[in-house]
Symmetry: C2
Subunit: 217 residues, 2 copies
Amino acid sequence: MANNYAVSITAENRTGLIRDLGSVCAELNADINHLETSTIENTARIDIEIEYDGAVENLVEKIRKIPGVTSSLIHETSREIFGKRVIVIGGGAQVAQVAMGAVNEADRHNIRGERISVDTIPLVGEVNLARAVEAVARLPRASILVLAGSIMGGEITQSIKKIQTAGIPVICLKMAGSASDAADLVITDPIQAGVMAVMHVSSVGVFDIERVKGKEF
Amino acid sequence: MANNYAVSITAENRTGLIRDLGSVCAELNADINHLETSTIENTARIDIEIEYDGAVENLVEKIRKIPGVTSSLIHETSREIFGKRVIVIGGGAQVAQVAMGAVNEADRHNIRGERISVDTIPLVGEVNLARAVEAVARLPRASILVLAGSIMGGEITQSIKKIQTAGIPVICLKMAGSASDAADLVITDPIQAGVMAVMHVSSVGVFDIERVKGKEF
């Protein structure tokens, strides 16, 4: 069973750093799940998360030997720190209410040792919303989407179907437009929508969206 | 001036895929800023964001020629879709209030074409909070942190100092403990704390935390 590790690396900024890092990981059969780089002047900072079934110290030692690498530090993964993500997208007033329900419910779960975060963006316009919904499938650790608005349809509905195929369930507030027809669950009260979204992603809760699929509350 | 591109790649899952992707990018002098992989059965999905000053079509064509790659699709970057991130960490009740202020203010900005998202996690305990605060420096596009609680200090204060060094300003609610002494700004009302955090990261607003540094409202 492979374990997940997060490693922060600093290095002199040079071409081929990622290639060399990829080589070391391929050599040891370690899978890079996540990589983030930033550069300040001549120093590159690379944060990676890897799945590896060997001793992480060996891997880190090999990374340290990559030309230009000046330091590497093992720490907790973002899944251990920030956990699963409930994503809330829509109109400001309603996003704020869904967030309130979700944050308060996540608090109750996180106090008992889970890790659930609530990430939001208020947006306007069909195209903007459709692109953001579609992009949820590319967000690391995104586990469920709540659409909080008064009218959504058209391209947004197409994006909902795409992310459902990618394994992300969608809760919609009760609203005008075709979006709610495509949703896994329709909820009238934004606070409850936030709470139920968290309950669904929780690994201790008994609530499962599959069991109420297509219903409306 | 290099441009940013996001490319989603699907491929047969095999060892060395990231190394080969790194090689192609190194060859063309394209910088990988972000990489995220997920695997379903034998298919790997790789989302990358790259900085490149050439024609992106050339790069994508070379990526398509990597053995095992079955498709590649250019789309908007996560910065274009989700923008700068205001991060809110602390106790559930207060995180929800800060989020309300921040989401409503972000709505006003995003309506005018900006992209600001509000990402939160309710947490309890000095060590948990300290680790989460420190990890904000590793979150992509994190632009400011709001600490929303009633008492924070010790290790949390050390983490605040670390992320400030990494360029992330910190707003604290007025509260007990040493955290607020280290903050760039102390605000009593959680709604206002959320609003000011968004105003600071906005590229059109006139508010700059540097100009009120160390003050308390």
